[in-house]
Amino acid sequence: MVYLTRVEHFNAAHKLYNPRWSKEENEAVFGLCANENWHGHNYDLYVTVKGEVNEDTGFLMDVKVLSGLVKTYVLDVVDHRNLNLDVPFLAGKMCSTENLAKGIWEQLEPHIPAGVRLHAIKLYETPRIYVEYFGA
């Protein structure tokens, strides 16, 4: 078994705000992150796939293909966007890093080629905060 990781990055705005709660409750729980007019981050995304090496190519999977999948199904949807307003796979969900990592997994997983499995989504919100998701 070999693990292969592609690193990508994107910039986005968001806020942490639960519409079922009052403004005061949101501020008590989410602090500055509840700011009404959004704030934003440079996200760093690590996508790891796993499987056996193909004898003919020496590859687990062509990393250019993996990069293309991440671009099409993730970056084109989230980069320079407002996560709360613009991203269909987060509609109706809290825009936390946890939910974003799970959402990215669900976007990518159906497109991973046969014989290769998605292993992990690691998502940095800041250089000191990251989330890992390994599937359900």
Binding site: N11, C33, N35
Partner: protein
């Protein structure tokens, strides 16, 4: 060569404090139509804002105080940046939530210039100030230049 000047320069030391803040913004020139804004600023013009983890490096240059050995107490500098810059910009929308960018496009260049102008009057006059601002790992600016 003025040897006295060279000798004086050899006593000068640069000290740095690194801070960071997260903010939303968009690049938009209200004097232009939508098509021109989209062409010039691309994705950075998208209407619902995007955001960055900004890294701020404040550089002060001067002669260490003979009593303390400090160019400036970096704890004091840190608190000054906190009060003057971070409380204004951290977790804010630069376009909507700050007076500084109400009528000024919040490019990295402009943000660095604004931070310089906010800090300069709060710092001792005999220290030189330089502001470096990273918008992403690979895009950064410094002021003055």
């Amino acid at each position: 060569m003025d040897m006295n000047r060279v000798a004086a320069d050899m006593n000068r030391v640069a000290v740095y404090r690194r801070e960071h803040f997260n903010a939303a913004h968009r690049l938009h020139n209200p004097a232009w139509d939508e098509a021109t804004n989209a062409r010039v600023f691309g994705k950075c013009n998208l209407p619902h804002y995007h955001g960055h983890n900004y890294e701020l490096i404040v550089k002060l240059t001067g002669v260490p105080n003979p009593d303390t050995g400090y160019v400036m107490d970096l704890k004091v500098l840190s608190e000054l940046i906190q009060e003057t810059v971070l409380q204004r910009f951290d977790h804010k929308n630069l376009n909507l939530d700050t007076v500084e960018f109400r009528d000024l496009n919040p490019t990295a260049e402009h943000i660095a210039m604004v931070i310089y102008r906010l800090l300069r009057p709060r710092l001792p006059g005999d220290l030189d100030l330089e502001v470096t601002l990273y918008e992403t790992d690979r895009n950064f600016v410094s002021y003055p230049a």
